[in-house]
């Protein structure tokens, strides 16, 4: 029996075990929506309020569930609204399949109504993209799309389908994609590199690990833990590696990078061996490359060959999924502990504690600090929540101070730094991990970038908790203005609306707190709630996030104030 291309598309999604998609309808994708109507039981379509929200929700879903997120939109403006989320997914290696409608194939290139060259636009920010003009291509291309999105270093794929292909009748049959001769998602490590690494690890006196999202994407948390426990190597995370190792683990020495911890940043330039595991030496991590770990030998565990020697030259590069490569190393290394060296991290942490952390978490000022809010959330959730953060000061504070007991618990826009990410991403994160508590931490600026997704939350009832840390400023930019532009606060002060009233307008239970004495109670109330909940916290207006490595500086020159 022949079916329409649009129905074939839905069958493909079901074949790939997709049960939730995020989207927004429009002319060029209407046949697909019409087919969706018949599959509502099997495929839950979440109507977002802006297509950017669809991509971020799909990202949140992918990152909490480990599955591929799916977003769908119409041609033209629908498709271009996906772009920010696609770029975000590309730089943060999030597996997405984005489906866009396109004008009928006979109109392609004619500037037809709502025609946009979305293939051209999305090319530099997708792992792969393809335009389907015949229904018969749909199963093969969709299978390829899912295969590419989730294999190797994951990333976003965009499939553009002309309207006539959606209407066209076809015979449906599906088989999952297995391989492509031009694509090697699973590079095999060379055995001699493993031996070289083992030698370096066994002889290192001051080895140091920086791990990234590769640990999470490779499902290699256990393998990673086994490796560090046997080698006894102090381990720091990049922002995207957060939660891959429990906060309380004795070898977890904190975050590296611009607003990371003092110890791991400073000691980067004192270690004799730097092991980079599933991370890519982003400039926010390395600071000035000319002064980055020059004294150390470098071992780079990495799945993407293009990352090796891109920013930092590796002495030993171990290509492949660390789930496979790390155990081979673990097996061969000696049991070790680096007590004295680890003690250095503790020492520097004490300095950071007395100069920064204590004040952040237990401020003496009257106004609430962002840090104490995060601390209260930790206490209320016991580190069991998924924390979704937006971009800015609150993001750095939340990542620095949140406690995590399990992996896939921190979801943030790392590489792109996309304000507006958190609210829709939290929706997806909750749907991808329904049994977990999901709390979004957002600034007053970023909240207003995708605030319309409150409508999605209201309509679906997805029980996420939203905390807006309101400082009436675009805080992070204000901080830079204060530090590097002589406090000329150009366009960073925000005159804000009544956020609680807005949340109420969406019938979301909400409250506002500005006094320390009520903070604990409000947070507990929020966490206890089984429904969506909005909490606005009025915080100190001109708080600064420290430590900080100024742009262009060496990691050693990290400032504590």
């Amino acid at each position: 029996m022949k079916i329409q291309g649009s129905e074939a598309l839905i069958k493909c999604l079901l074949e790939e075990d997709v049960d939730i998609i995020y989207g927004y309808p429009g002319g060029a994708i209407m046949p697909v929506y019409d087919s969706l109507y018949y599959y509502q039981e099997q495929l839950n379509h979440i109507l977002v309020r802006h297509e950017q929200g669809a991509t971020h929700a799909a990202q949140g879903y992918a990152r909490s569930s480990g599955k591929v997120g799916v977003a769908i939109a119409t041609s033209g403006p629908g498709a271009t609204n996906l772009i920010t989320g696609i770029a975000d997914a590309q730089i943060d290696s999030t597996p997405l399949v984005c489906i866009t409608g396109q004008v009928a194939s006979n109109l392609l290139g004619s500037d037809a109504f709502q025609e946009t060259d979305i293939i051209g636009i999305s090319t530099p920010i997708t792992k792969w993209n393809y335009q389907i003009t015949k229904a018969s291509e749909i199963p093969k291309i969709l299978a390829k799309a899912f295969f590419i999105a989730k294999s190797g270093r994951p990333g976003p794929v965009l499939i553009d389908i002309t309207k006539d292909a959606q209407f066209e009748l076809m015979d449906f049959s599906y088989s999952k994609h297995q391989n492509l001769r031009s694509y090697n998602p699973d590079p095999k490590p060379q055995l001699n590199t493993i031996d070289n690494a083992v030698e370096l690890i066994n002889s290192a006196k001051k080895p140091f690990i920086v791990f990234g999202q590769g640990v999470i994407l490779g499902n290699a948390e256990v393998e990673f833990k086994n490796f560090i426990e046997k080698s006894g190597i102090p381990s720091a995370w990049t922002i995207l590696g957060l939660s891959a190792l429990p906060t309380d683990h004795y070898l977890n020495v904190g975050m590296v990078g611009m607003h990371g911890n003092y110890g791991p940043n400073v000691l980067t330039n004192e270690c004799d061996l730097l092991l980079a595991i599933g991370m890519r030496f982003d400039d926010r991590v390395t600071g000035n490359l000319d002064y980055y770990a020059k004294q150390a030998q470098i071992i780079h565990f990495e799945i993407d060959p293009a990352e090796i020697d891109k920013n930092v030259i590796a002495d030993v590069a171990i290509l492949g999924n660390i789930k496979q490569t790390l155990p081979k190393v673990t097996q061969k290394i000696n049991n070790n502990n680096h007590k004295k060296w680890l003690g250095k991290f503790r020492e520097l942490n004490q300095i950071e504690y007395s100069k920064v952390i204590k004040n952040d978490l237990y401020p003496s000022k009257q106004k609430l600090s962002m840090g104490e809010v995060i601390n209260e959330i930790n206490l209320a959730t016991n580190g069991e929540a998924i924390i979704v953060t937006d971009v800015g000061q609150h993001q750095m504070v939340a990542c620095r101070y949140s406690k995590f007991n399990q992996s896939k618990s921190s979801i943030t826009s790392g590489g792109l730094g996309t304000m507006g990410f958190a609210l829709p991403a939290a929706i997806g994160a909750k749907m991808g991990a329904p049994s977990r508590e999901v709390i979004a931490i957002i600034g007053d600026g970023g909240f207003q970038m995708t605030i319309q997704e409150l409508g999605t939350i209201f309509q679906t009832g997805v029980p996420i908790k939203i905390v807006v840390l309101n400082n009436d400023f675009l805080g992070m930019v204000r901080q830079w203005q204060q530090l590097f532009f002589d406090s000329r606060y150009a366009s960073t002060e925000m005159i804000n609306p009544d956020f609680v009233a807005i949340a109420k307008g969406y019938f979301i239970e909400s409250s506002k707190v500005s006094k320390r004495e009520y903070l604990k109670e409000r947070i507990h109330k929020m966490v206890k709630s089984t429904k969506p909940y909005f909490l606005e916290v009025i915080v100190e207006k001109e708080e600064n996030v420290f430590p900080m490595i100024p742009t262009g500086e060496s990691v050693s020159n990290i400032r504590l104030n």
Binding site: G120, T123, N129, R181, S182, P305, A306, D309
Partner: protein, 176 residues
């Protein structure tokens, strides 16, 4: 660090719509100017070969190559110096026929340059010259005083002196 040098990039790829866009986007992203570009079938059935010439530092071209190889439809990419390759460009020169008969000198130019006359018609004739950039440029300069109706030069095409490992790569193949 070594200075900029001219590199010939050879890319073996599936012939897919949009791939050229994807490849050129990598150069664009790094603000690199492409000196010349050519695409054609390769020695292997169904596999296309792009030849791109750029002038960059070696450490940069290496990164560009791995970012090109990362593209799904690219099978392999290589870079070579001029010394490692045999390369040519072709140029076509369209000249008024009148000048061929009236200006004796032009016949000598053609003869000395070993260029080929492709076509002669009552109104114009077309010369083809294949060689190095200097050769086609010299002929251009020599002919220019007599009036060039049209001039065009192809992108560089190039083969390497050493064997390309492409067949090996394909045989070893990623198909597991």
């Amino acid at each position: 660090m070594k200075d900029k040098e001219k590199y010939t990039v050879s890319i073996y790829a599936e012939n897919n719509i949009g791939l050229l866009n994807r490849i050129s986007a990598i150069f664009l992203k790094r603000h690199l100017n492409i000196d010349s570009i050519n695409s054609s079938p390769s020695e292997i059935n169904d596999i296309y070969r792009f030849v791109i010439v750029v002038t960059v530092k070696e450490n940069l071209i290496r990164k560009v190559i791995s970012q090109i190889e990362k593209q799904i439809e690219v099978i392999a990419a290589f870079y070579h110096t001029d010394q490692e390759t045999i390369f040519q460009e072709s140029a076509l020169y369209k000249v008024k026929s009148k000048s061929l008969f009236e200006e004796r000198h032009i016949q000598n130019i053609i003869k000395n340059s070993h260029a080929k006359i492709v076509t002669v018609s009552p109104k114009f004739f077309v010369i083809e010259k294949t060689g190095f950039r200097e050769d086609t440029e010299k002929l251009y300069n020599d002919l220019a005083p007599y009036g060039l109706l049209q001039f065009v030069r192809s992108g560089r095409i190039s083969v390497t002196k050493e064997p390309m490992k492409i067949t090996e790569i394909l045989n070893k193949s990623y198909i597991k």
